[in-house]
C-alpha cells in the first residue's frame, strides 16, 4: 500500500474539503486529518506514477491557491511525518514526529509532556526512542508511552477514516474591502477562480454540471435597496471546461449587468451547483478531435440559444405533412432524412404566402413584376380538409428573372407566391 499525505500550509478547513473532493479524481480512498488529506494511491499504480501524482497535485494546489507539502510512504503515519518534517527515516525524524504516529489524523497533543521529558533525557530522534528498553518506557511514561511505541511499531494498522463528500457544492469568494467590484470584467477575474474550483470538485466526483446558481452579495449601505443579485444558470448540454462556463456566464450575466448595473460593490461571490449529471470529465481523446469539436459545438449552440432563444437555433427535421410549410420541424438534435418522393420543391419558402396579381403575361407583387415564360403544373396539394385553404394547385412559374413557386386556390382562383427556386 502507498499513502500520499497532502499537508496544507496554513490550515484552511473550507478549501481542504474542496481540495479533497477534487482529489477524488486520483483515488476514491481519501481520509481527512486536521490539516491533512491522505490518499491511498497504491492501487492506482497503473494509472499514474508517484512522480506524476505529485505534479498533478501541485497543479491542483496552484488552482486552489493553496500551498502544501506532499509526501508518499507505505503507511499513513510515515506519510504524515514525511510531509511534516521532509524526511522519512526514523534516524532523521525528530522525537516530535511521535505525534504523527500516535494520532496521524488529529495530532493529539496529549503526548506533549512525554515528548518534552524525552527531549530533556537527550532522546532527540525516533530511532533513539525505539532503542530505549520497552519496560523503561512503560515504567516512566505509563500507558501513553507504550501506546505510542505500539503505534510506531505497527504503523500500518491505523484505522482508515473515509472521507464523505459534501452534499452541496458551494464555492465562495470574499472580496477584499479595498476592491470595488461593480462591472462584470472585474468580477469575472474572481469568478474564474471559483469556477475553477467548482469544476475540479465536480470532475473529482465524475459529474458534469447542468445547473448552477450564481449570487452576488452587495455592500449593505442604508441607501441601497438591493442587497444581492442572483442568476439561475441552466445548461442544455453538460460541460466540463471552465472556459465554456465563463463564456456562457459572460453572455448572460454580462448582458444583464449592462442593462441594469449593480447598485453597490460586490462583497461576496457565491456559486452553487444545483444539478449534475453523470459524465466523463476526463481529458479529450488524444488521437481524435471529434470530442473536442462536439463540445465546442454544444457550447456554441448553448450560447446562441441563450442569446437568441431556443426557437432560433435548430436542426431541420422532416415531418409528414403534405402542406409545404408544415413538412418540417425544428429540433435540437438532427435525424436522418427519409427519401422524399415529391415533385421538386423550392429552396426558399415565404413564411406567409404573398397575394399576386396577374395582368396578361405578368405577375405583380407590389413593386415587383415578372413576365411569365412557362408554367409547369399544376400539382394539387390537399390533405388537411378542416383548414380553410386545404386545397392548393401549385405551379412552377418560369419567368424572365427566376422560377417562382405559385399556388392557386381552386375556390377563389387567387394566386399566391409561396417560394422561389433560388
Amino acid at each position: 500500500m502507498r499513502f500520499a499525505c497532502i499537508l496544507l500550509l496554513p490550515k484552511d478547513e473550507v478549501l481542504q474539503l474542496s481540495l479533497a473532493e477534487a482529489c477524488l479524481r486520483f483515488s476514491p480512498e481519501i481520509s481527512l486529518g486536521s490539516r491533512t488529506i491522505i490518499l491511498e494511491i497504491g492501487k492506482c499504480r497503473t494509472l499514474y506514477s508517484e512522480e506524476l501524482f505529485i505534479k498533478r497535485v501541485q497543479v491542483l494546489l496552484k488552482r486552489f491557491g493553496l500551498s502544501a507539502k506532499v509526501w508518499i510512504a507505505s503507511d499513513i503515519p510515515s506519510s504524515v511525518a514525511g510531509a511534516m518534517y521532509g524526511r522519512a527515516l526514523p534516524a532523521f525524524l525528530p522525537i516530535e514526529a511521535l505525534y504523527c504516529y500516535f494520532s496521524p489524523f488529529t495530532f493529539d497533543l496529549s503526548l506533549e509532556p512525554m515528548v518534552r521529558a524525552l527531549r530533556k533525557l537527550g532522546v532527540e530522534t525516533l530511532a533513539e526512542f525505539i532503542q530505549l528498553p520497552h519496560h523503561s518506557i512503560a515504567k516512566k511514561f505509563g500507558k501513553d508511552g507504550l501506546l505510542a511505541l505500539h503505534r510506531y511499531l505497527h504503523a500500518h494498522q491505523v484505522v482508515w477514516n473515509r472521507f464523505q463528500v459534501s452534499e452541496k457544492i458551494i464555492e465562495q469568494f470574499n472580496v477584499e474591502s479595498h476592491e470595488a467590484l461593480y462591472d462584470y470584467d472585474s468580477i469575472s477575474f474572481f469568478l474564474k477562480r471559483i469556477l475553477d474550483r467548482v469544476v475540479m470538485r465536480t470532475c473529482g466526483l465524475g459529474q458534469l454540471i447542468s445547473k448552477m446558481r450564481l449570487k452576488f452579495y452587495l455592500d449593505t449601505y442604508s441607501s441601497y435597496q438591493e442587497t444581492e443579485r442572483e442568476w439561475l444558470l441552466e445548461f442544455s448540454f453538460p460541460h466540463r471546461s471552465v472556459r465554456a462556463f465563463l463564456d456562457m456566464i459572460r453572455d448572460r450575466v454580462g448582458a444583464d449587468l449592462q442593462k441594469k448595473s449593480l447598485s453597490a460593490p460586490v462583497l461576496r461571490i457565491e456559486l452553487e451547483v444545483l444539478e449534475m449529471v453523470k459524465g466523463n470529465p476526463s481529458q479529450f481523446q488524444f488521437f481524435s478531435q471529434q470530442e473536442e469539436q462536439q463540445e465546442n459545438m454544444n457550447l456554441l449552440i448553448e450560447r446562441i440559444t441563450n442569446k437568441l432563444g431556443k426557437e432560433n437555433v435548430f436542426y431541420a427535421v422532416p415531418f409528414e405533412s403534405y402542406i409545404p410549410e408544415r413538412s418540417w420541424k425544428k429540433a435540437m438534435l438532427p435525424v436522418k432524412a427519409k427519401e422524399l418522393r415529391l415533385r421538386s420543391r423550392p429552396l426558399r419558402l415565404f413564411s406567409k404566402p404573398e397575394l399576386l396579381r396577374q395582368l396578361d403575361q405578368y405577375l405583380i407583387l407590389r413593386e415587383y413584376r415578372w413576365k411569365i415564360l412557362q408554367l409547369v403544373g399544376p400539382e394539387r396539394i390537399t390533405g388537411e380538409w378542416w383548414l380553410d385553404d386545404h386545397a392548393r394547385d401549385y405551379f412552377e412559374v418560369h419567368t424572365d428573372q427566376e422560377i417562382l413557386w405559385v399556388y392557386r386556390k381552386p375556390l377563389t382562383q387567387e394566386l399566391f407566391l409561396h417560394g422561389v427556386f433560388d
Binding site: 488521437f287 469539436q293 462536439q294 465546442n296 459545438m297 457550447l299 456554441l300 449552440i301 450560447r303 446562441i304 442569446k307 437568441l308 426557437e311 432560433n312 437555433v313 435548430f314 436542426y315 431541420a316 427535421v317 422532416p318 409545404p324 413538412s327 418540417w328 438532427p334 435525424v335 436522418k336 432524412a337 422524399l340 415529391l342 421538386s344 420543391r345 423550392p346 429552396l347 426558399r348 419558402l349 415565404f350 413564411s351 428573372q401 427566376e402 422560377i403 417560394g419 427556386f421 433560388d422
Partner: protein, 172 residues
C-alpha cells in the same frame, strides 16, 4: 487485451493532417477556398450551395439568416443531410453569431445570407475565417464590391443546370 501500436503507426496518428486549402466543388474547378470569404450571388445561389454541401458531407455547416427563408425539405430532396446543417435565425445578432461560430471552430462551413454588409463587419468575419480555416460563404442577390471576398461567384440557372461564373478571384 488492447491492440499494441507500432512506433510507425503512432507516428502516423500523431502527424498533423496536411491543411486543406479548398473544399471540392464540381461547379468551381479551383474549389471553394478555406480561410476566406466566398461571395455567391445570382438566381441559382441556393441550388449551388446544395451542390457544395452534398459534395462535402463530412463538413458541418452553420446556416445563418436574419429571417429564416430556406425550405429545409427542398435541401433534403437534393441530397443534403439534415445532420449536416445547423440553422440559426440571427435577427440583429448576425455578426455575433458568425464570429462566435468561427471562433468555436466547430464548423468548417459558415453560410450567411445578408443583402447589405459593411466593410468593418466583413473584415472582422474575414479575420475570424482566416484563423478558423473555415469556408465562409456570403449569399446575396447582387454582387457587391468588397475586397474582403476572395472569390466572387455568380450563379445562373440554365434550365435544370447551373451556370457558375467567377466574377473575381483573389490569390490567397
Amino acid at each position: 487485451m488492447k491492440p499494441v501500436l507500432s512506433l510507425d503507426e503512432i507516428r502516423v496518428l500523431l502527424r498533423k493532417p496536411d491543411p486543406k486549402e479548398y473544399l471540392p466543388c464540381s461547379e468551381v474547378s479551383s474549389g471553394i477556398p478555406l480561410g476566406s470569404i466566398t461571395e455567391v450571388t445570382g438566381t441559382g445561389k441556393t441550388e449551388f450551395l446544395t451542390h457544395l454541401l452534398r459534395e462535402n458531407t463530412d463538413h458541418r455547416a452553420l446556416w445563418v439568416e436574419e429571417y429564416f427563408s430556406v425550405f429545409p425539405p427542398a435541401l433534403f430532396q437534393r441530397g443534403v443531410s439534415p445532420e449536416q446543417i445547423l440553422f440559426v435565425t440571427a435577427k440583429k445578432e448576425m455578426e455575433w453569431v458568425i464570429l462566435n461560430a468561427l471562433r468555436s471552430q466547430a464548423f468548417s462551413m459558415v453560410i450567411f445570407d445578408r443583402e447589405e454588409c459593411d466593410s468593418i463587419f466583413l473584415r472582422r468575419v474575414q479575420l475570424a475565417t482566416e484563423k478558423a480555416q473555415a469556408a465562409t460563404i456570403w449569399v446575396s442577390s447582387q454582387p457587391q464590391n468588397f475586397w474582403t471576398s476572395s472569390l466572387q461567384l455568380q450563379v445562373k440557372r440554365d434550365g435544370s443546370k447551373l451556370q457558375v461564373e467567377t466574377l473575381r478571384k483573389r490569390a490567397v
